[in-house]
C-alpha cells in the first residue's frame, strides 16, 4: 500500500465517504466479503441499506430478518460484498435463522465480520461478540443506537472497549446515518490489513476445561496448520456438535 496521506483531509473518513459507491445487488468482481452479524434488533439491516443503497425491510422486532441478504458497495477502488445475516443471541443454538448466521461466519469465511451491538445493552450483546471473536480475527464492533444510549445517560469509553476486545470499535446511530463513514473506513482498513486485530479470547474458563481445550487444539493445529479458530472448534467438539464433526470430516472448515 503506497497510499500516502497528503493532507489532513484525505485521512479523514468524512472526506473519504465521498468515495463510497453503493452498488446495490451487483456483486461481480468482489475484492472482499463483509458479514454483518449481531443480536436481533440492533440495526443490521439499517446499516446494510446505508452501505449498499438497497432497501431491505427494517423493523423494530427481533427476528425480522430470517434469510441472508447480499449487496455490494465500492470504497476507494475496492469492491466489497456485504452479507446481512439474521440476528442471533449466540452461536450455540438450533433455530434455522440462527444456523444461517452461524454457518456463514464459520464456513463463508468473510474477510471482515462487522458485529453490531446495541449500545444500551452491551453486556448482553457481548455474549455473541466474544463467541464470534473466537472464530475470526478480522472483526469490527459497530456500537449502534448511540442516540438511544445518550438519551438513557449511558456513556461508553470506546477506546477502553476496543483495547479490551482487541478490535476496532465504531460508535454509530445508523438510523440517522451517523458514524457510517467511520464504519466504512474501518472496514476497509481491517480488510486491507492496515489494522491488525488481536481479538479477546474467553478467559474465565475453568482449569480442567482449559486443559482439555488446549490438548485438543494442539492436535487440530497439527492436522490443519492454517486454521485460525482451533480453540473454537475444540469447544464445539467437546460439546459434541455433530455439524462441526461432519464439517471437519469433509474438510469444509479449512
Amino acid at each position: 500500500m503506497d497510499n500516502k496521506v497528503n493532507s489532513a483531509c484525505e485521512g479523514c473518513s468524512q472526506y473519504n465517504a465521498k468515495g463510497l459507491k453503493k452498488l446495490g445487488v451487483n456483486t461481480d468482481n468482489i475484492d472482499f466479503v463483509v458479514a454483518l452479524a449481531g443480536n436481533p434488533n440492533t440495526g443490521k439491516s439499517t446499516v446494510f441499506n446505508a452501505l449498499t443503497g438497497l432497501r431491505q425491510h427494517t423493523g423494530n422486532w427481533p427476528g425480522k430478518t430470517v434469510t441472508r441478504a447480499e449487496g455490494a458497495f465500492e470504497y476507494g477502488t475496492q469492491k466489497y460484498k456485504l452479507v446481512d445475516l439474521p440476528g442471533t443471541y449466540s452461536l450455540l443454538s438450533t433455530s434455522q435463522d440462527e444456523e444461517i448466521a452461524r454457518n456463514f461466519i464459520l464456513f463463508g469465511k468473510p474477510d471482515v465480520t462487522v458485529i453490531m451491538a446495541d449500545a444500551c445493552r452491551l453486556e448482553r450483546n457481548l455474549n455473541l461478540v466474544l463467541q464470534i471473536l473466537e472464530i475470526t480475527d478480522k472483526a469490527v464492533l459497530c456500537l449502534n443506537l448511540m442516540d438511544e444510549a445518550k438519551r438513557n445517560n449511558i456513556s461508553i469509553d470506546e477506546r477502553t472497549l476496543a483495547r479490551d476486545l482487541g478490535i476496532p470499535v465504531v460508535p454509530t446511530s445508523a438510523r440517522f446515518n451517523e458514524g457510517i463513514p467511520e464504519l466504512i473506513k474501518t472496514i476497509s482498513e481491517v480488510a486491507n490489513g492496515n489494522i491488525i486485530c488481536k481479538p479477546h479470547r474467553i478467559k474465565n474458563v475453568p482449569e480442567n476445561i482449559n486443559k482439555a481445550v488446549k490438548k485438543l487444539s494442539v492436535e487440530i493445529e497439527k492436522e490443519f496448520p492454517t486454521i485460525p479458530n482451533s480453540r473454537w472448534i475444540a469447544f464445539r467438539l467437546l460439546e459434541g456438535d455433530t455439524h462441526i464433526i461432519d464439517a471437519l470430516k469433509t474438510g469444509e472448515l479449512i
Partner: protein
C-alpha cells in the same frame, strides 16, 4: 483422503468430554458472561437516572396489561381497518374510472380500428387487460394504506408486545409464542408469514405455525370481505349504522380466523404434532419513534408494489381463463355454464352456489380476483344486462349495482355470510402453497396445510347453512 488423523481428533474429543463432565456447556457460558461483565465494568458508565426506560415501562404496563391488553389490540386493529376501508374508497373508484371506464373503451376502439379479430380482442382486452385493471383498482389503494400503517406499528415496536399478550394463549394450545409474530405477518400476506416462521426453533411448533398461518386473513381476501360486508351486512341495519356494522363484520371474521388458528393449533399439538412447548426469550425492544416518511416510502416500494406485482402476474392468465371458459361452447352452452350447473346443488348444501365454487376454482392462483369472477359468472348465468358483454370482467359503478346483480343471481344474506366464511376458510393461494413446500420440503405437510382449511370451510359453511335454514 486420509481420514485417520481426523478420526483420532474426534476420538480424543470424545475421551476428553467424559473427563470434563456434564457441566461443560454451562461452565463455558458462565465464562463468557464473566468476561462480558469484566469488559463492561471497564468501559460502560450508566448514570442512575433512566427516564426513558421508565417511560417505556409505563407504556408496556398499559399495552401488555391483563385487562387493557386485548381491548387495545382490537381497537388498534379496528382503527387500521377503518382507515383502510374508508380511505381506499375514493382512490379505488378513481382508478376504476380511469382503467375500466375510460381506458378500456379506448383500447376496444383501437383494436377494432386495426381490425383485430374478435376472439383475440376479447382474449387480450376483455380477459387479460380487465383482470389486471381490476386487480390494480381494487388492491392497490387498500394495500397502499394498510401496509404503511402496519409498518409504522412494526417500527414503533408494537409487534413483540402483541406476541407477549398472546403468548399465554399459544402456550395453552401447545404452540410457540413467536407464532403471534408470524400470524401478524400473515395478515399482510400468508406467504410472507410462512417464511417468517423460521424464527421458531422447534420443528414441531414451526410446522404448527406454518399450517395455521392461512387462518390469518390475508391482503388478497380483505377486499372480498369488505365488499360483501358492505353490500349485505351493512344493508340489514339502519343507514346511519351501516358503516359500523360492515367494519364490525369484517373484524368479526378476522377474529374468527384467529379463533380457528388457536383451535387447529391445539388440535394439531394434541394429535399428530405432539410435544412439549419450548421456552424462549422474547425481547421487548424499546419504543422507537418511526421515521415516518422513510417508512411510508419503503413500505410502498417493498411491500405494496411487490405484492401488487405478484397479484398481476397471477391475474393476467386467470383473466384469460375466465374469458375462455365463458366463450368456448360445448353443446350450445359455455364451459362455465356447465361447470356452474354441475356444482350448483353442492353449492346449495353449503349455503353458497355454483358460481362461487367455480370462481374459487378459477381463482386459486390469486384470491384477489374472486369477486370480479363471481360477478361476471352471475351475469352470464342469469342473463341480466349490466356491465359489459359475455365473459367480460367488470367493476360496477356503485356498490348498490353490484348488490342488485348479486340479488338477481339469487343471493341472500346467508350466501353473503357463507361467502365471507368460505373466503376465510379455504386453501391458501398457489404462492403460499409453493412457499410452504419450499419451507417444509414435505409433500405430506404441504397437503395438510392445503386441505385442512378447505375441509374446515366446507364443514363450517355446511353447518351454518343447515342451521340457518332451520331457524329462518
Amino acid at each position: 483422503m486420509n481420514n485417520k488423523p481426523i478420526e483420532n481428533i474426534i476420538e480424543l474429543s470424545n475421551d476428553l468430554r467424559w473427563q470434563i463432565g456434564d457441566e461443560f456447556h454451562d461452565n463455558l457460558a458462565e465464562g463468557i458472561y464473566a468476561d462480558a461483565a469484566e469488559i463492561v465494568k471497564g468501559s460502560v458508565h450508566t448514570a442512575q437516572q433512566q427516564k426513558q426506560f421508565r417511560l417505556d415501562a409505563k407504556i408496556d404496563k398499559i399495552i401488555t396489561s391483563k385487562t387493557l391488553g386485548f381491548p387495545l389490540m382490537f381497537l388498534i386493529l379496528a382503527v387500521v381497518l377503518w382507515l383502510t376501508i374508508i380511505g381506499a374508497n375514493y382512490p379505488s373508484s378513481m382508478l376504476a374510472n380511469l382503467l375500466l371506464d375510460t381506458l378500456h373503451p379506448i383500447l376496444k376502439n383501437l383494436a377494432s380500428g386495426i381490425g383485430m379479430p374478435w376472439w383475440l380482442d376479447g382474449f387480450l382486452i376483455d380477459g387479460v387487460y380487465l383482470a389486471l385493471a381490476w386487480v390494480i383498482a381494487v388492491m392497490l389503494p387498500p394495500m397502499a394504506i394498510f401496509f404503511p400503517l402496519f409498518t409504522l406499528l412494526e417500527d414503533f415496536g408494537y409487534l413483540p408486545r402483541v406476541a407477549f399478550n398472546l403468548d399465554y394463549l399459544f402456550k395453552k394450545t401447545g404452540a410457540h409464542g413467536k407464532q403471534a409474530l408470524t400470524m401478524s405477518m400473515g395478515f399482510g400476506c400468508n406467504a410472507a408469514g410462512v417464511v417468517a416462521t423460521r424464527i421458531i426453533d422447534s420443528p414441531r411448533e414451526r410446522l404448527i405455525a406454518i399450517i395455521t398461518n392461512n387462518f390469518s386473513l390475508c391482503n388478497g381476501r380483505w377486499p372480498t370481505q369488505i365488499l360483501i360486508a358492505t353490500i349485505f351486512i351493512g344493508a340489514v341495519v339502519p343507514t346511519s349504522l351501516s358503516g359500523l356494522a360492515s367494519v364490525g363484520a369484517v373484524i368479526g371474521i378476522a377474529i374468527l380466523g384467529i379463533f380457528f388458528m388457536f383451535i387447529s393449533s391445539w388440535a394439531l399439538s394434541k394429535t399428530v404434532l405432539k410435544g412439549e412447548v419450548s421456552t424462549f426469550n422474547l425481547e421487548l425492544p424499546p419504543y422507537r419513534p418511526p421515521r415516518f416518511w422513510k417508512t411510508i416510502y419503503t413500505s410502498l416500494i417493498d411491500r405494496t408494489l411487490i405484492v401488487l406485482w405478484r397479484a398481476m402476474v397471477f391475474a393476467a392468465p386467470a383473466g384469460a381463463v375466465i374469458w375462455l371458459i365463458s366463450n368456448i361452447n360445448i353443446a350450445d352452452q359455455s364451459i362455465a355454464y356447465w361447470m356452474i350447473s354441475s356444482l350448483d346443488s353442492f353449492g346449495f348444501l353449503l349455503g353458497l352456489n355454483g358460481v362461487i365454487l367455480v370462481a374459487y376454482i378459477v381463482a386459486i392462483p390469486a384470491n384477489e380476483i374472486v369477486i370480479p369472477t363471481i360477478l361476471m359468472l352471475t351475469v352470464l348465468v342469469t342473463g341480466i344486462t349490466g356491465g359489459e358483454g359475455t365473459g367480460v370482467m367488470f367493476e360496477l359503478e356503485s356498490v348498490n349495482e353490484t348488490g342488485d346483480i348479486l340479488r338477481a343471481g339469487g343471493w341472500t344474506l346467508l350466501t353473503a355470510v357463507n361467502l365471507m366464511l368460505f373466503s376465510l376458510l379455504h386453501n391458501p393461494c398457489s404462492t403460499t402453497i409453493y412457499t410452504i413446500y419450499k419451507e417444509t420440503k414435505s409433500v405430506k405437510w404441504t397437503s395438510v396445510a392445503t386441505l385442512l382449511p378447505v375441509i374446515m370451510g366446507l364443514i363450517v359453511t355446511f353447518l351454518v347453512a343447515q342451521i340457518w335454514r332451520l331457524v329462518f
